[in-house]
């Protein structure tokens, strides 16, 4: 019960942000929420099922491009275009996943990377259709208004994003706690054991891939609407790497950790890019820190804090062991 109350309060405080009237923060948070959702969806594939991917941006970008093309080229209504974008990206994932998930570890990583580059290359070179390096501008937001609040307003779109991402997070959470979700962790820990229990490991991995891709597609569409623009940067492997970093820093498999980290990284990146050119350097350092100091991610902090408190509280608390833990 306490958890539910806390979550509702959190949601409400997020919803109250537009009341501050600060458009910069509203915009920044909109994007942060989208990227949090992106990392969270990736966690289903990476953290829950144990399949590291460096090509997840593909499904984020393909949805954005699908939506953009539908609106700008074929004059389709933005709502329908959003559906088309998400559907297109999901179908690509559905076609690719059964083949790709037959690989594991580094080969899987490579094939996701190669597939991502393939898509990126296609989009960048096929300029006549996709706008090439310049991308596609002019993406109009869907129309939805409640009184004077519409999606065209930054705060209106923020609340819309908040609602969509909250629902996405809720659905991902339900999925993760379901028998399907539990079985994915089983597949991660011991696929031999899962096979012997009667599970089709291949089918489960495919499911995880597609679910993560659909989440990415949704976020990609939101992003396209937010920016009014989509470019090849949304398909870049570096964008995939950023999402993966969010998963690892947040704590693979914890879902909320990657969400917070994914959102936080975006805020950090925006701040740093505003100050210096050294974002790549800082990103690199963050990667190294994530692995060295925080292997379990942010999500492991409560557990480590708890263990630390136990050590401090114990009557025979050795100072040496406390230092070692730190």
């Amino acid at each position: 019960m306490k958890r539910e109350v806390a979550l509702v309060l959190l949601l409400l405080s997020f919803a109250a942000v537009p009341l501050t009237g600060n458009e910069y923060w509203t915009g920044l948070l909109t994007q942060a929420l989208i990227l949090g959702g992106f990392s969270m969806g990736l966690d289903i594939l990476v953290g829950y099922t144990g399949m590291p991917s460096l090509g997840h941006a593909t499904f984020f970008g393909l949805a954005g491009y699908g939506t953009a093309l539908a609106i700008t080229r074929w004059g389709i209504d933005p709502w329908a275009a959003a559906g088309i974008g998400v559907l297109f990206s999901s179908l690509v994932a559905l076609a690719f996943a059964p083949l790709a998930v037959r690989l594991r570890g580094v080969p899987f990583l490579t094939v996701t990377l190669a597939f991502g580059q393939l898509t990126w290359g296609l989009v960048t070179r096929w300029g006549s259709f996709t706008g090439g390096e310049n991308g596609i501008p002019g993406i109009t937001r869907p129309s939805l208004s409640v009184g004077s609040w519409g999606l065209q307003r930054p705060d209106g779109f923020y609340l819309f994003t908040l609602a969509v991402v909250a629902v996405l997070a809720f659905l991902i959470n339900r999925f993760a706690l379901s028998p399907m979700g539990l079985s994915l962790r089983g597949v991660r820990d011991s696929d031999r054991r899962m096979l012997v229990l009667g599970y089709s490991v291949h089918a489960r991995r495919t499911m995880a891939f597609v679910v993560a891709a659909v989440a990415a597609a949704l976020c990609g569409t939101l992003s396209a609407f937010f920016n009014g623009y989509i470019g090849p940067g949304s398909l870049d492997w570096r964008f995939s790497a950023q999402a993966l970093l969010g998963v690892v820093i947040g704590g693979a498999g914890s879902l909320w950790g990657p969400f917070v980290a994914g959102a936080g990284l975006h805020v950090l990146k925006t701040y740093i890019c505003g100050e210096t050119e050294r974002w790549a350097l800082i990103l690199g350092v963050l990667y190294v820190i994530a692995v060295v100091v925080l292997p379990g991610g942010l999500a492991s902090l409560p557990e480590r804090a708890r263990k630390l408190k136990e050590v401090l509280r114990s009557p025979t608390g050795h100072d040496a062991s406390v230092h070692k833990r730190l």
């Binding site: 094939v111 990103l283 690199g284 190294v288």
Partner: protein
Amino acid sequence: MRFLIFQVLNGLTTGALLFFLASGLTVVFGLMRILNLAHGALFLFGGYIGWSVQKITGNFLIAVVAGTIGAGLLGFILQQVFTRILLGRAFNQVLLTLGVAFILNNSILAIWGGVPRRIDPPTVLGHSVSLLGVTYPTYRLFLIGLALFAGLALLLLWERSRAGAVVRACVDDRPMAAAMGIRVDLVFVAVFTVGAALSGLAGVLGGPVLGLSIGLDFDVLLLAVVVMMVGGIGSVGGAFVASMLVGLLDTFGKAYFPELSYFTLFAPVVLILLVRPTGLLGRAIVE
């Protein structure tokens, strides 16, 4: 026809450079299970060192040696860092080596700036030669020949020499090799350092052909990883075949289908990976 020959030679040149780069990557991964994503940065680092040395001394050969040694040294340092930290988990490894790659990339940018550079080939190889009906730069032919020579040398070393046998033993069965008295930790250091040096060598040698620019490190890294997967992990012979294949695919794609060049390169790669996950000449990875 002349265009075709030209493209084939270009493809083989790219393949030559890729071979130097990928051979180190694949052996390191086969041996230590570390996918060194900083390998591309080593390439660029060696190249820039070579450029600086050439600027100072005006001598190509000294530049090559300097770049190779410089990259080897950096590789040695990285190897020490990686083995202390990594415990074999796939994505931690990805992040650590990738993080180091980003740090190196940015450091190179900080030291040498963002202006693309070019290394001059040695004057003796600076001309063109008539071959198979085309006029082709001598230097590029030299690269192809060098790669062939190096490929044969490495293969012979791998298959026939005692050093090669030691490394192969460590790849096949590390605990057994250690039990037989082989200093596995030293083998790791040696292989990683040599791989890094080869990478730097490729960087300098590639200077006249590819130039030096920020971002090149990740471009070549991607190709090298692809070569490794296609050729088969831990296989030097596979790396050779795959390097040439990828070099040709890349060149032909850019020449004949410029609009789809990435596609023409990566689509076959994806297909090969899906059909033969262990690569063309590789063995199954025992997880």
